[in-house]
Symmetry: C2
Subunit: 766 residues, 2 copies
């Protein structure tokens, strides 16, 4: 059943299957937050594949493709750009091009060493002339030097001498698979080559991002430096450095290819090439092994903070490490301009843009494992885009500084193009507000409110105050025409989740104003003036809305209603669905999905998850039972929330099922789409489902709570969280919880209602 | 305020305004049902224009352009093809190309003679060398020979001799303005030219429609045949025949260009050129004047049946004649494969496809003026597409022969691409059923049921029976996730209009089954077997749904509710809208429109219009008052229904206002979009608003009723209707109705509750 061997630290592929190439290209992706790429082969491959190499923050505003234009539609759909193929090492032996799609594959193995951040591959092929060639390749994107990538590529001729030609190249003539009008997005700016070197500078259309790829090639034979004569080729958007040599039977040729990637995001245009040269000078003189060693050290350091160990369940263990690994490859928190694309650097779908996924799913992971600074960067990203959110709301007819953050964005502007998403899936605004509360709960950093948070909260609260309208008929406030988290509904009235988080925002914004007013009066005065806040009328309106909002509820069932009219639907359960009809989104027409009861992802349950304290155990259980039976989890973001709530109501069977579904979603390809890339943002949901689900972590009244419940076969679960300046390691075993405080400050926490004091640098057991 | 001179039989433009060129190209369009074109100039025009010439039934399945693909989306968006420019007569004088955009226009006038179906134009321009050139042009698409177009183009040099070069050409290198991916849709097949002759055969991509355009040119000077030496040019997709001559001051050169257009819709591929040659032989030997005379006779004959006269209000008179004229130019009912595109042959928007407009708006006009045969063709068009409608429903998950006719189609397949339209605007199915009843009411032709109608009714009824579901909660049948006629709502639950027409269909289908069963038992047995009808269970289910359907109604207001939750909207009225915000669809974002109370076009009122007999006067009045105040009429199909209901409730002021808005929509360019083409289908609504509104025509219990109410300034209103084998002319004057029976059969009608017997070939006065 598993596509890859189960191993606690590695993803291992033990044979070559052309059908699995695209899926494995996704799974074995590597990256370092600044750049990343699919696990394409260095040598040529003529079979079906998806070539992809991406640079964080380099995108293209592609003209939107719509049926009939409607007023207010965004003009472009931003997409992360596929960029130059810089890993290329073309090999030909006795004139035959090395290509796993063409030669007989004698053996093949590929390993993603997650502990050290290395992609390794080895294979033996038999050429048409009967010669057997062995390749052993290793590559990484340096975590220590984020503009450096390094490849070691070794070739041996196993059963006879062979004449070998090597072409190390950079090829900028690439396309985006998801280009709307089949355009190419890059223009060449400059290029050059000298012995064993070559660079290519390209510029993106429209936004003029300039990127320089610069390579150096070196050769050893059996470990001894070799200096074969090289010849260089320059073509349109292409440079290469080529050598030819004869390899004796049993000899081993190793090609080291170091690449520096510099861009105008980080360097002045006129210094791009020089900078890349300097980086290459330094990297070359360090050498591949030293680069690798500093890179793996960085990874070991990350694992020190972020590892989760699960004893007794290797699948679960592998799953969570794969998730954590991919998250750190995608986003490191070093750059406040960056964010987390739903597919990271592993594919093009969703355009690499920022979604509400960041606030709703990713924030806790980075907060607890990478710390306050990284989490703060994620919040500040939205603060920096507040003006654009206000513009965005104004385009939709709102005023007085109301802010609607985009559903999908690169630079703060909306860049998706379905009206039911951009105009109506406005609950994202609530998640952005809620992230501020969550950040302060975790970090205790209330100064964030005065510094940045309050302006965002006021903008969002003002949006809700205008978006919610009064129904004379109902004598309640209502919110019409929205799409909730469950995108299998569009344009509904009074989505409970949206109404709930909206009114929560109104209350939280009011409280936050009061807090800033009392704690930083000057700052409040400045903000009040800046945003022209009318303290009396605006706060009154907010309170009135919060008090009189309509929250759909079914008295008879005692269950919250996802939206008005939900019980008018035919109440069929998922278990009664013909399995041949699933996934619904591949089998049913869109209208049938829309009018059916089936739920794509947690919606009411997302709200209960966020606001758990507002609901008693019975309410949670009742709603979970009701909605879980109607949920098809066709969004990657669904199972994690269900796993957490299943733990909450102590339904360990469903919790385990949901956990595996989230943690091994891509490894086991539940949704039959791993070829398109990985579900990066949902991986943070997997982390939540372990820590908040099985670990039962909560923060209430400035205090950390654990409420562990482990699946039967898990001998132990252990993870670390950063909480208010402490790093706490929690290890849960049957009947025993061990808490280790790796900091200079003591901490009192609760474990299943028992208060436990963990001394500084000490251990407590319960 | 009027763009064109008010004249009872003509549209007259008295000056040249480059800003008005595109609008006038629409207004002055000519066609004959088989082909049609915008009023582009024969000579070159370098200013902003929209070149368009179209052939009925020749279309292209363009690849749809969508944001994110959803399951069930149609693969293509059919569009009527812009086709070869065959009117071209390029003129240059002393080497200067004649071009109204470049020369000084001394005088200009253009006339659309609606009575005779002629487009006439004359102008004088001054060349850069000071010479004044006069052109007088006339053209028509022959109603007598529908594959023939004729142009007479006269040139005089007013103040000196001039050297003139004439290039009569056919240019197939044309584009569609609304091509989704900027493709060209035509490939050249063959061409040829000889003295004063030339033909071009082109083929459409994908569907391989072949069309041959063949031209003959002839010259006279001062009425005397002239035979200047001609030279022919053939280029890619282009042929021309050219002459040069010197025109003396005051001499008049007349070019006659006859064109035959033949297509594989009507002729074998290998006979296209021969056929066009034969047509040209015949047309040439008849000559321009004879062609014109037989053409104008056909028009006079049409007016004999179809004219409406309004005395005392020239604007109203001109408006209705313009509407009738354009309708007959678009569709003549000769070909059952054809239908009525919303813009006819006057523009590309809406792709020239068939919408529900045909059944809901156009049918009565053709039924009453062109007769039973033409109306029957329109119904049979849908019958021929029943299998595709069943396939279409199956794609959306329906079975057992349920039929969903497409929202937009050329060949029976759905070819629009917005889910909220194709999947949800299913009320069109009801209009197609209702058209059958309406046809039978008008014509008395109940045989249509057994022959064609019943199968269509059963398919549609089966669709409704599956699309409507049972709500346990409500203990009622409901219809979720629809878009009603008011497209300013999407994905609503229980749109009253749709629920009403659906259950009406169920009842009417059941009655029709009973009728066919009793009147043509054999035919019923055949149908029953063909469609595998389960008489017991299906009829029971239909009856149960009809009895227990949920029809939204507000008790407190005593008003039908457009859909569930309508009163939750902010109840702002159109009169309170800031005029700067209109039209809403150009000023407001789509979501704002959706959640607002404002209605694009009659929705509840459309239902009340169709099913007027089910409602008492008070109910009609209450609902009209309620909805009219919330309707912005941003669909061309809205004012006509309002005009009819305003007459019904005797609100003559609003009736007149609505009438002018529908009848002069394009002439006065109410919606600021006449440049895109004319609103052909709404023109039939104008006819309805006169005949059913001011004339108060109804058919109840197989009897014709009139209930005239004229606006104050109308001295009289007169029109003819064909009713069950009679042609009745009704003339209404203050206090007097004159009914003339132009047939061999007497008829009893009602005028304002008084029964009147009109003798055969006789007159009755009331």
């Amino acid at each position: 059943m598993n596509n890859y061997k189960v191993d606690e630290w590695k993803i291992i592929e033990e044979s070559f299957d052309p059908q699995r190439v695209e899926g494995s290209e996704s799974i074995f992706s590597i990256g370092n937050g600044m750049m990343g790429q699919r696990a394409n082969f260095e040598e040529d491959y003529s079979g079906k594949m998806l070539r992809g190499s991406y640079i964080a923050g380099v995108y293209y505003p592609d003209k939107t493709r719509v049926g009939w234009w409607k007023n207010g539609y965004p003009e472009y759909f931003a997409k992360v750009l596929n960029s130059a193929n810089f890993i290329g090492i073309r090999v030909s032996i006795d004139g035959e091009s090395l290509d796993l799609n063409k030669q007989k594959v004698v053996s093949f193995s590929r390993t993603l060493d997650m502990q050290h951040g290395l992609l390794q591959r080895s294979f033996v092929v038999e050429l048409s002339n009967g010669k057997q060639i062995q390749v052993v390749a290793e590559r990484f994107m340096s975590m220590a030097r984020p503009e450096i990538a390094a490849i070691s590529y070794s070739i041996a001729s196993l059963n006879s001498d062979a004449s070998i030609a090597i072409e190390g190249y950079i090829d900028g003539d690439v396309v985006n698979e998801d280009s709307n009008y089949n355009e190419k997005f890059w223009d060449e700016v400059a290029k050059g080559a000298a012995a064993n070197c070559g660079f290519l500078t390209m510029k993106t259309k429209k936004l003029d991002f300039n990127v320089c790829w610069n390579m150096r090639l070196a050769y050893t034979i059996n470990g001894v430096d070799s200096h074969p004569h090289s010849s260089e080729v320059e073509k349109e958007k292409y440079v290469s450095s080529n050598v030819e040599l004869t390899l004796q039977k049993g000899q081993n040729l190793t090609i080291t290819k170091l690449v520096a990637v510099t861009s105008t995001l980080n360097h002045p245009l006129d210094k791009l090439v020089d900078k890349s040269e300097a980086l290459l000078d330094a990297a070359s003189s360090a050498g591949f092994e030293a680069l690798k060693s500093e890179h793996t050290s960085k990874w070991l350091e990350k694992w020190q903070h972020a590892d989760i160990t699960i004893e007794g369940d290797a699948e679960a263990q592998q799953g969570i490490r794969f998730n954590i690994f991919q998250l750190f490859q995608t986003y490191t928190g070093e750059d406040e301009r960056l964010n987390i694309g739903p597919k990271g650097f592993t594919g093009e779908k969703y355009g690499g843009s920022t979604y509400w996924d960041t606030e709703a799913y990713c924030l806790p992971f980075y907060m607890a494992t990478a710390g306050e600074h990284v989490a703060r960067q994620l919040l500040i990203y939205r603060y920096r885009q507040l003006d654009k959110a206000i513009e965005n709301a104004a385009k939709l007819g709102f005023n007085n500084g109301a802010a609607l953050f985009p559903m999908v964005t690169m630079n703060g502007e909306e860049c998706h193009n379905e009206w039911e998403i951009t105009f109506e899936e406005i609950h994202r605004n609530g998640a952005i507000a809620y992230a501020i509360k969550r950040y302060i709960d975790y970090t205790g950093d209330k100064s964030y409110l005065a510094e940045y948070g309050l302006e965002v909260l006021i903008g969002i609260a003002r949006f809700w105050a205008q978006r919610i309208t009064w129904s004379d008929e109902r004598q309640k406030y209502v919110m019409l025409g929205v799409t909730g988290p469950n995108e299998y509904e569009n344009n509904v009235n009074n989505n409970w989740y949206t109404n709930y988080i909206a009114t929560w925002t109104l209350k939280y914004a009011a409280e936050s104003i009061a807090f800033v007013k009392s704690s930083s009066a000057d700052r409040w005065n400045a903000i009040e003036k800046k945003v022209s806040f009318n303290t009396t009328s605006e706060l009154e309106k907010w309170a009135d809305i919060a008090a009189k909002i309509h929250l759909p509820y079914n008295e008879k069932l005692g269950v919250i209603m996802q939206q008005d009219g939900f019980m008018d639907k035919e109440q069929i359960l998922v278990k009664d669905l013909d399995p041949s009809q699933r996934p619904l989104n591949q089998k049913w027409s869109w209208d049938r999905i829309l009018r059916s009861v089936f739920i794509k992802q947690a919606d009411v349950l997302q709200g209960i998850y966020f606001f758990e304290e507002d609901f008693d155990f019975e309410t949670i259980k009742k709603n979970f039972d009701f909605y879980e039976q109607r949920t098809v989890h066709e969004s990657s973001l669904s199972p994690c929330v269900h796993a957490i709530l299943a733990c909450k109501i102590q339904d360990m069977e469903r919790a385990k099922l949901m956990y595996l579904r989230t943690a091994r979603l891509d490894l086991d390809d539940y949704n039959k789409e791993v070829n398109e890339g990985l579900h990066i943002t949902s991986m943070a949901g997997s982390w939540m489902s372990v820590v908040e689900g099985f670990g039962g972590l909560r923060i209430k009244n400035d205090t950390l709570y654990f409420n562990p419940f482990l699946p039967e076969n898990w001998k132990s679960l252990a993870f670390k969280v950063i909480f208010r300046g402490r790093t706490i390691k929690a290890k849960f075993e049957a009947g025993k919880t061990t808490l280790t405080n790796e900091s200079e400050l003591p901490l009192a926490v609760f474990v299943k209602d028992t208060m436990v004091n963990i001394p500084a640098n000490g251990v407590a057991e319960v």
